[in-house]
Amino acid sequence: MAVLTEEQAFIKDQASDWVKTKAPVSRLRALRDSHPGQSFLPDTWQAMVDMGWSGILVPEQYGGSDLGHLTCGLILEQLGRQLTASPLFASSLVGATALLLAGNPEQQEALLPAIVNGSAIVTLALEETSQHAPAHTALRAGPGGDGFRLSGTKTFVDEGMCATHFVVAARTAGSPGDARGISLLLVPADAAGLTRSALPTIDSRDHARLSFGEVEVDSAALLGAPDEAMPVLEAILDRARIGIAAEMLGTASQAFDMTLDYLKTREQFGSVIGSFQALGHRAAALYSRMELSRSCVEAALQAVDADADNVAELAALAKCQVGKFLFDMSNELIQIHGGIGMTDEFDAGLYLKRARVLETSYGNRAYHRHRYAALKGF
């Protein structure tokens, strides 16, 4: 754990206590079993807003606390531990970051206070195919009305069913595969011609497919420069990748703790199974990888706060390293728990399912391995 300021330590402890007592994994199970079609439990989200978490990255002038990405990461890690469902990551991190990095003061004034008080949920609509591929954006935004007319589809949009606004990556010039020719457009969820449908994903969370049929927005919907959104989009995505890596670290850490606890209590052949060297060595290797993963995540969060010039490299590193660890940890969680790990009644399955959704979000291991190599010049 990084050396924290008093305020960061307070928020981390507060998040840890709150998540354990008010938003444990049993609440996700309740959401799945008793509230089908709902994105999150409203009292959970309201409590987060009340604690100020929705404004953690937003400047004070817009009602936020501007505490930075390390602090935000500490919270996301705790949420990841209990698989707490909320739009905090999608809106308060990704949506807010899009407005902060690409928006003009009018756009920020219009939406940031609403993100902070929870009345707006702003999410990024990027993916169009089965793979994360920002430059392959094809959804067309041609001239139309007073601004743009959008046609095409987006998929795997985080919190897409509950969002009030989408930041849409659209092609305004060139063709799919070109880094140039992409623009970011702010589209209200109730825009005429926009329909959305829920994707029934394994993690019981809100992911949506959006269909744009001649959706018109005026020119004020443009976030940042026309056709030249790629650099700012990558900056937004890197912050998202680092934030999701923090959440993944929490998910993997909880899976590790559950496994370690089981190793110390489950008895077979007359001994606790943690006394078997084959299992002790696996636990030791997983623990070591957890520590190495934490180093990558913390370094990446701190790099964003310091506005360092290696944020992209550390984002690829963090997402890939934590991704590899969570992949193996979630499999070991099932394997070491044996039969009980296969039952729906036990929580292991919820962690495994969420792990794979997180893995494919914002670039998988292969994507970031490739990106790391490219950033290193080979």
Partner: protein
């Protein structure tokens, strides 16, 4: 404050480092390979460093150190390195400055400290360690080399192996059995023994990588003084545990990156070639190279994090030494294996000549690096330490 200190170190190095030593090759024994002028300059440089107390800068002044903090000591090595040289004393002292000395500072009597530490700190007395035996490797506590007391002190009989630098050392810290009736770990003591005597014989061991610093060391009625027992009688196991902690701490930085001049990816570009978009032609190696570089970055970030945490009072450093020893091993061995693969049929040469210096060196380093997961507590022993001491899992049972 630190800036002022650094400035004074810079000034001292500028005034005292003989210019003929800049860039000179100093080998693993701390010896310069060069002409007479370089040899003389080297002797002078050692003497000046010793007088300054910088051979073992964090030790108290009365024992030949300079009483510096760890941070100040780092500044000293950094400044010397940036001036194009190095401090040879820790190498000249063998295991003295890095391992025996710090343990002596904790366990030694004032007389023992006064007798042994200054020679280590000045680099004039080289120490080796007699720990492993042919039948006591990872299971060190099963050692059988014995010491019995007589009227003149201790009489030592037995064989040690992997005694690094034994053939060049003046003293040996040797782990001996002093009570055969006690349980394995309870009948062991730590003796300090002079090597220049008729009862000690050393034989160098040739390794898969060629010549090595390692020796087999035979003790046949070898003698140690009564007061050369370090720590309490039959409490040698606690002494050696501490000693090995110092060893792990000295091994946790990835040596691969410390000596690497040309980045791995540049070597890969040179041997494999690149496509028009700048990517390596071998896509599989490209992916594994990226994985390796990321693993190494994670290791280095972890060292940085633990050092920051330790300054903030967060963790005890020794608890993490086992993690870092294994990740340093992964980084170094992984690097060597990748380099060999990148070099292809140029990565299997034994002698330079037909093969380049770089190619032959790479092969030797690859072979030598196999020791990293064996010495200082093997890879598996480190995992035992992590599972027992950090994770609190119970002692290993037979089944399972």
């Amino acid at each position: 404050m630190t800036d002022q200190f650094e400035a004074s170190v810079r000034e001292w190095v500028r005034d005292n480092l003989p210019q003929v030593l800049v860039g000179a090759r100093i080998d693993m024994y701390g010896v310069v390979s060069g002409d007479q002028a370089q040899q003389d300059a080297f002797a002078l440089w050692r003497q000046r460093l010793a007088e300054q107390g910088w051979g073992a800068p964090t030790w108290p002044r009365e024992y030949g150190g300079a009483g510096l903090t760890d941070a100040e000591a780092k500044i000293v090595s950094r400044v010397i390195a940036s001036a194009g040289s190095m401090n040879p004393i820790p190498y000249l002292a063998g295991m003295g400055v890095t391992m025996v000395g710090p343990t002596l500072l904790e366990y030694g009597t004032p007389e023992q400290k006064a007798r042994h530490l200054p020679g280590m700190a000045s680099g004039e007395v080289r120490w080796c360690l007699g720990l492993s035996e042919p039948n006591a490797g990872s299971d060190l506590a099963s050692l059988t080399t014995s010491a019995e007391r007589d009227a003149q002190g201790w009489v030592v009989n037995g064989q040690k192996t992997w005694t690094s630098g034994a053939d060049k050392s003046q003293w040996c810290g040797v782990l001996v059995r002093t009570d055969r009736s006690a349980a394995k770990r309870n009948g062991i003591s730590f003796l300090m023994l002079p090597m220049d005597q008729p009862g000690v014989e050393t034989r160098p061991i040739a390794l898969i990588a060629g010549e090595s610093p390692f020796c087999e060391t035979f003790f046949t009625r070898a003698r140690a003084r009564e007061d050369d027992l370090l720590g309490d009688l039959n409490d040698g196991w606690s002494v050696v545990k501490r000693l090995l902690q110092h060893e792990r701490q000295s091994q946790t930085s990835a040596p691969a990156t410390a000596t690497a001049v040309e980045p791995l990816e540049a070597i890969a570009r040179r041997y494999l070639g690149v496509n028009t978009d700048g990517t390596l032609t071998d896509t599989d190696l490209r992916g594994r190279l990226a994985d390796h570089l990321m693993d190494t970055a994670a290791h280095e970030l972890t060292i940085a994090r633990i050092m920051t945490d330790a300054r903030g009072g967060n963790v005890e450093v020794s608890a993490t030494a086992s993690i870092l020893k294994n990740s340093a091993t992964d980084a170094a061995q992984g690097r060597s294996e990748l380099l060999l693969e990148i070099m292809g049929n140029r990565g299997v040469g034994w002698e330079p000549g037909e093969y380049s210096e770089e190619e032959a060196r790479t092969v030797r380093e690859w072979l030598g690096g196999k020791a990293m997961s064996i010495y200082g507590g093997s890879y598996e022993v480190q995992k035992n330490i992590i599972s027992k001491n950090i994770l609190g899992l119970p002692e290993t049972t037979q089944k399972g």
